[in-house]
């Protein structure tokens, strides 16, 4: 992470608190410049992965039950996603749907049952033109410069306008306290309380440390990712030589998740 260690941080915080009690603000102790310098250091972790716009390609031919299980498990475990069995209160970041449900507009009476029921992994599409970001009244959901559609679960007021806005059903709401449904906590990822919306964030926390998204890593090559604006990237090569589809592309949201058939 950044060059400031825990000890130093606590020291500064301690001094700040002490001075704060005496009527001094944190800014007077640390100085705005220093805070900005810290923030700058945090931003520029040398190993962080850079892209103009992240995108993902999911090869449906390579998906099998094991890969689907591994991808969803690892994602939900490292992000402290509660396992709620009641479908009405479910919280999911990445999950399995049947082809006919993931692509309802392609429904066809004569489609083979294999294709109709073919498993598809669905997740937030990290749209280039995301309706959820457009409707959010607090900027709790916003788009990063690298195209990742972020979710600040600590600013979200829980109005659920984004859930109405998202045409992909990618967003889940914490109808109850999620903690009671989490078995193995990952202390490195933030917890949230009831009453906020959450979703896949393209593993921004891993990208910023130079790691690929967890599902990509667990997918055994079925999920690929990269910078879609870079003509030499792996996914651009795949997209130029394969037929790929996106969910509900006609809505103009410009999803960044592609599917290979």
């Amino acid at each position: 992470m950044s060059n400031i260690n825990r000890r130093e941080f606590l020291k500064i915080l301690g001094i700040g608190t002490f001075m704060g009690l005496g009527g001094w603000s944190m800014f007077e102790v640390v100085g705005k410049g220093e805070i900005e310098a810290f923030a700058e250091k945090y931003k520029k972790v040398p190993e962080a992965l850079q892209a103009k716009r992240w995108a993902m390609v999911i090869d449906l031919k390579k998906l099998d039950q094991k890969i689907i299980h591994d991808c969803t498990e690892v994602c939900h475990r490292i992000h402290n996603v509660p396992k709620i069995l009641n479908p009405k209160e479910e919280i999911k970041w990445i999950w399995e749907e049947k082809f006919k449900n993931a692509f309802p507009e392609m429904k066809d009476d004569y489609m083979s049952p294999e294709i109709k029921n073919m498993p598809v992994l669905v997740l937030c599409n990290h749209c280039e033109n995301p309706p959820c970001v457009r409707v959010c009244p607090t900027k709790a959901t916003f788009k990063r410069k690298d195209g990742i559609v972020m979710m600040d679960m600590h600013r979200c007021i829980g109005c659920r306008f984004c859930m109405a806005g998202c045409p992909y059903g990618a967003r889940s709401f914490n109808w109850k306290d999620p903690r009671q449904y989490i078995k193995n906590e990952n202390p490195e990822f933030p917890f949230r309380m009831r009453g906020v919306v959450e979703k896949c964030t393209f593993c921004y926390e891993r990208i910023d440390r130079g790691l690929p998204p967890a599902c990509v890593e667990a997918s055994n090559g079925a999920i690929m990712y990269g910078d879609i604006t870079d003509p030499n990237s792996e996914i651009r090569k795949i997209l130029s030589s394969n037929f790929a589809i996106r969910r509900k592309a006609k809505l103009g949201t410009k999803p960044s998740v592609y599917y290979l058939l």
Binding site: K88, T138, R155, P167, D177, R194, G195, V196
Partner: protein
Amino acid sequence: MLELALKGSPRYWGWLFFLAILIGAGVITYLYQFQIGLGITGMSRDVSWGLYIGQFTFLVGVAASAVTIVLPYYLHNYKKYGRIAIIGEFLAIPAILMCMLFIFVDLGQPMRVLNVLLHPTPNSVMFYDMIVLSGYLILNILCGWVILMSEKKGAPPPRWIKPFLYIAICWAPSIHIVTAFLYQGLPGRDYWMTAIMAAKFLSSAFASGPSLLVILCMLIRKFTNFDPGKEAIQTLAKTAAYFLLVTIAFYLFEVFTAFYSGITSHQYSIIYLFKGLEGYSKLVPVMSICVLLAAIGVLILVTPPLRKWEVTLAIGAASTFLCMWLEKGITLVVGGFIPNAFDRVFEYWPTLPETIITIGVWSFGFFVLTILYKIASSVKEKAIFDKYGEKQIKA
């Protein structure tokens, strides 16, 4: 002027006490919701808005409908409305308060509500809704209070209030247009994403609002010595009749577009509401009652003898109001979420706690409304009107 609300009959106090009990039940149930979360409601991952947002949407319309009285009176000098302009303005105030409360009780993290001000986001329609609703609330309090105050003093209203009256008239439709934009700008919700939504919102508002005002005027006449006037009530009924017809027409336009075009995704919600989809049909009875009430409303309000006889008029107005309430307050919001993004049907029905909270908010609205109408009618009871019974000449 507030002191007028403190002198009332036992019936007045009994009614307020009754409402206070319902408000109390709502508050206690809300505390339960606050503690557990919105999981105590019937809403789900797939139907993520329900009764609360439906009530909000409906009540914005009721608030906006004050313009159906204020506009003819102030812009066209329609004298018959002179007595009841205040009734319209004072209806808008509790209606907006209820809207705000319904938004508040719908929030997952109500303690963070000020984030909307802390991080103003002009690309969100919610941002504009907040502005227009607060603005309309202030305008109605200002105009209603100033004019009633001068009436109490027996003086003509001050001239500086005029611009505010005109602003309020222009402002009224805006609150409902912006509310419609909350819905009609969302991709992937075919039932909502239609340009006629804002127009239908306005027309249904101008049907439900005047219907409610007809009933309220009749109640005021029955329980106070202030008579809003037979003519005024009849004109309100005519307004409701026209806009009820327009609303039904708009709905049929929608049905035509969905079914003549043959685009199935536009048909699903309508099929779900009227016939049921994939065996799910919880809202079919609601929609059937809605259609029945619309038929009764049209029959009574459009047929002159039935509209003129006040017994049938009351039934017609109540039918129209309830019809619009069922359409906008429940089926519009829920229908838009069905089927979900994966072509599956998850149904919604409000739970008991959700219903109690909803009744609590409505009771709060009626509590405020009662107090405001008590003040207005006390002032009006003492007023002496000119020989036409229209314009007040002396207090």
